[in-house]
């Protein structure tokens, strides 16, 4: 079953056509990678999906909800979470607080004036957040201020924040960008583990190693157009992809 369907999306910045009639769909429960050379329009595409940018034409359907024109927090409330290229966390708060916030957002909605309840007495939220931190291996650091974490740990925290909301669709923008090989492998392991939960994922990635160890399906974007789509092993051998993406070199 399709969980996300993008039809005829165009987006221009001045004279530059960033996305040219993109049609794209994601099957529920799969890991779908979007790859492409620098400037191919990958991030623009992702931003059109999560409401940061409005596409010029075309539609983005999430199940039977149209995401075009919705505010980012409404899209999240509909069940789409996003991991950013540079981890976006609440750097002045503790790890536990960082995960409790999305957990509460999921339970209480986009605004709730709980000004007289005690947060530390809310066992449901606290247990869920702690459990999530355990899942990503950060439980022992739950009381530290998150700004002090390493980049790899920040990424794991951000992932825990997204997962705590049980999203239907998780968008990951270059989840291993700027990471060491060891951190990259840890992240791959983590993403594989959470695949077992059956969360649909769309991954934008530069690193072929990551793409081929995670994705079931790969879409190749070049100059704003989809040039190939299919299973990773088919994409590897596709001459058009090698031409556009790797300048003809063999994988």
């Amino acid at each position: 079953m399709e969980i996300l369907r993008v039809e005829g999306v165009n987006k221009s910045f001045g004279g530059l056509k960033a996305l040219n009639n993109v049609n794209f769909s994601v099957e529920e429960g799969t890991v779908h990678a979007i790859i492409g050379p620098n400037g191919a329009g990958k991030s623009t595409f992702l931003n059109c999906m999560i409401g940061r940018l409005a596409p010029d034409t075309g539609s983005v359907m999430f199940g039977d909800i149209s995401l075009t024109g919705m505010k980012p927090y409404e899209i999240n409330q509909a069940g789409v979470s996003r991991v950013f290229q540079t981890p976006e966390i609440f750097a002045e708060l503790t790890l536990l607080e960082n995960v409790m916030i999305p957990t509460m957002a999921k339970r209480d909605g986009e605004f709730a004036l709980h000004a007289f309840k005690r947060l530390d007495q809310d066992a449901e939220i606290r247990d869920k957040a702690l459990h999530m931190l355990e899942d990503v291996g950060l439980a022992e650091k739950s009381g530290t201020i998150s700004g002090a974490l390493s980049r790899g740990d920040k990424r794991r925290l951000e992932l825990a924040m997204c997962l705590s909301q049980d999203p239907k669709l998780l968008l990951l923008d270059e989840p291993t960008a700027g990471m060491s090989r060891a951190d990259t492998n840890n992240t791959i392991d983590l993403l594989k583990r959470i695949s077992d939960r059956g969360i649909t994922k769309v991954v934008i990635e530069h690193d072929m190693h990551v793409v081929f160890s995670l994705a079931k399906k790969v879409t190749v974007l070049a100059q704003g157009t989809i040039i190939a789509e299919g299973r990773p092993e088919d994409i590897k051998g596709d001459p058009r992809v090698q031409e556009a993406y790797l300048g003809g070199a063999h994988l």
């Binding site: 996003r82 609440f90 002045e92 536990l96 605004f111 007289f116 530290t144 201020i145």
Partner: protein, 378 residues
């Protein structure tokens, strides 16, 4: 920050704070601050700064127009005296309601922008209110003369007692001046402090801190930051209105100068001086500034000569000449120097200084802080 607190610890903390506030006339007497007028100011401005801190300390939105709500609260309180009677309770309630409505309107517009633009918008609104109070709104504010209660006012709730009673706010026959006035203000401060403490510990409070830390992440976490900031703005406006009402309860006169930008700036200074984002800091800051204003400004050369009288004459005169710059009308200079020293050496305000001292004491018996996090004191 939040996690090292528990309901029991908070209760103890509140009780100690309450005891300290209620015994202020005793323990502040040795430093010359134990008289009711100044104590009332400590409580009133402590409340004002506590409310301001709920906005600035938690969300990071720096309002530069909070004195407008102080003024709105004051005028509402005096009108309540004039129309309803000299009871402080309806005056305080009405002041909270009106300043809340004003804050809703001003906040709704100003919060469309953040950072310096938000500050400028709030400043513009406050200056507008200040100027309107002197011009178009004279029928309500009585312009430069200020609004006061007159013998001829209806004061319907006072009944026959009103005709010969003094025009001073009174609760069950107790006039709200002197120590009675202080204890009324102190009770209101304690209520305000209790509510602030609850907000600090609540899910709402952590959302406000999330606004300060990362609004982008908040948006992509399914939270709409706007109603959170607006709610914080309205609550803090209500605190300001209540503080304004207390000013009139202890002295039933409202003037527009209360809304001037210097008054808005003063509460910013109080909060930063004490420690923005901490519970006690703004109250310390408010007390310190009011203490300097009242004590240092009262010094003159005569008092300085008495203080430095032990020095030989050739030293006494230069010392008095230099230090006299910092007292009397020059007390702002002392405040300015103090403010600079604190911002440069203790960016977290007085509370950071206090928590540093506490940590130094904790460390000295050979114990190290087990958690990596540095938790600021309350």
């Amino acid at each position: 920050m939040t996690m090292n607190s528990s309901p029991a610890r908070d209760t103890v903390f509140f009780l100690i704070f309450a005891a300290a506030v209620l015994t202020m006339p005793i323990w502040l007497a040795p430093i010359g601050a134990g008289y009711p007028d100044l104590l009332q100011k400590f409580a009133i401005f402590g409340l004002f700064a506590t409310g301001f801190n709920l906005l600035f300390g938690l969300t990071g939105y720096l309002s530069f127009g909070h004195a407008a709500f102080l003024g709105v609260g004051s005028y509402t309180a005096v009108w309540s005296f004039k129309l309803l009677g000299m009871n402080p309770i309806p005056a305080a309630i009405l002041a909270v309601v009106t300043s809340g409505i004003f804050a809703l309107a001003i906040g709704y517009v100003s919060l469309r922008r953040s950072g310096i633009y938000f500050s400028i918008l709030t400043l513009a609104f406050a200056q507008m209110s200040y100027n309107l109070a002197y011009s178009v709104l004279t029928p309500i504010t009585n312009g430069e003369t200020g609004l006061r209660v007159l013998e001829s006012d209806p004061r319907i709730l006072d009944g026959s007692a009103a005709t010969d009673g003094p025009l001073i706010s009174s609760l069950f026959g107790i006039e709200m001046t002197g120590y009675a006035g202080f204890y009324f203000c102190a009770a209101v401060l304690l209520i305000g402090f209790f509510v602030a403490q609850r907000i600090f510990r609540s899910p709402f409070g952590i959302m406000l801190r999330a606004v300060k830390t990362n609004q982008n992440r908040m948006n992509y976490t399914g939270l709409n930051p706007r109603p959170y900031t607006l709610a914080a703005f309205v609550i803090s406006g209500m605190y300001a209105g209540l503080a304004g009402a207390l000013m009139c309860i202890t002295d039933p006169l409202a003037g527009a100068e209360r809304m001037q930008w210097t008054a808005s700036g003063e509460v910013v200074l109080m909060t930063i001086l004490g420690g923005a984002g901490t519970l006690l800091g703004p109250i310390f800051g408010a007390a310190l500034i009011k203490y300097f204003e009242n004590i240092f400004s009262a010094f003159n050369e005569q008092t300085l000569h008495e203080i430095f009288g032990f020095l030989p004459d050739f030293l006494e005169y230069p010392v008095v000449a230099v230090s006299s710059l910092f007292v009397g009308e020059g007390w702002h200079l002392t405040l300015g120097v103090l403010f600079m020293l604190i911002v440069i050496f203790l960016p977290g305000g007085l509370m950071e200084g206090i928590s540093r001292i506490f940590r130094a004491f904790k460390r000295s018996p050979g114990k190290t802080n087990p958690t990596g996090a540095t938790a600021p004191a309350e």
